[in-house]
Symmetry: C2
Subunit: 145 residues, 2 copies
């Protein structure tokens, strides 16, 4: 059953669809939002999945590395096709934390698919989702978010 | 002079470059972060520029419409090319407010370039930047954010 949000005109995606789309863009770029003082900030990061969790690397001591530790974050992945006037967006709300568990670290460090996350980004961060929601532009809608 | 951030390896863009890139993607999609309770959220919106300000439409009564009113927000526009391993990201930190000034409304409502923002999104929101910063992936760097 396709659910349409009456106010926005966007199709509501269920959790299963959201996870499928996140997997589709794995190793690509998602956008992370953290609250830095009174302001949210958004930073692009290359991400991978570990079950339903999102993982990425940070360089020690950077703003990103400091900001995400035990923080409430949002993580968004989307796909926009201007030509086809189609697109989708998946939003995770969750809690980020630096990975210190040796088993998790061992599992992440062998991932060959994140070669660009070189040795100077030694910290792994995991986002454990509290909610995963998504919206898709309905194909016969006019293009708009 | 090209400035490289030593920790991230990313090129630091000046305000002029950032504004040029924002203009390049005008009428496309940017990502807005607002703080909703204790959590940041990220939502894609089609945007236009009004001088250095970012403007977009919202549907009355939606979560987005309520969240942005007089709020500290972040707005991010980026371009990622997986093939060329290149990309850039521009981040605005500022304050959003619903536009009520008649002169501003008159100026925005005639914009033909936002046709998909139809009549059921009657509210204009403006983001007045407090800072505009940007980063570019250096071409000879390995691809990573």
């Amino acid at each position: 059953m396709r659910l349409i949000d009456a106010r926005s005109g966007l199709e509501v995606l269920d959790r299963h669809d959201c996870l499928r789309l996140l997997a589709l863009k794995e190793y690509g770029v998602g956008r992370l939002a953290v609250v830095d003082g009174l302001h949210p900030i958004i930073l692009p990061v290359n991400y991978a999945l570990d079950g339903d969790n999102v993982v990425f690397r940070t360089a020690a001591g950077t703003k990103l590395d400091l900001a995400v530790h035990r923080a409430n974050v949002a993580f968004e992945v989307d796909h926009v096709d201007d030509e086809l006037r189609s697109g989708w967006s998946v939003l995770i709300k969750g809690r980020a934390e630096r990975v210190t568990n040796a088993h998790e670290l061992a599992r992440f460090d062998v991932r060959p698919q994140l070669p660009w996350a070189a040795g100077d980004r030694p910290n792994w961060v995991v986002i454990r989702p509290e909610s995963i929601t998504g919206r898709r532009l309905v194909s016969d809608d006019r293009f708009r978010w």
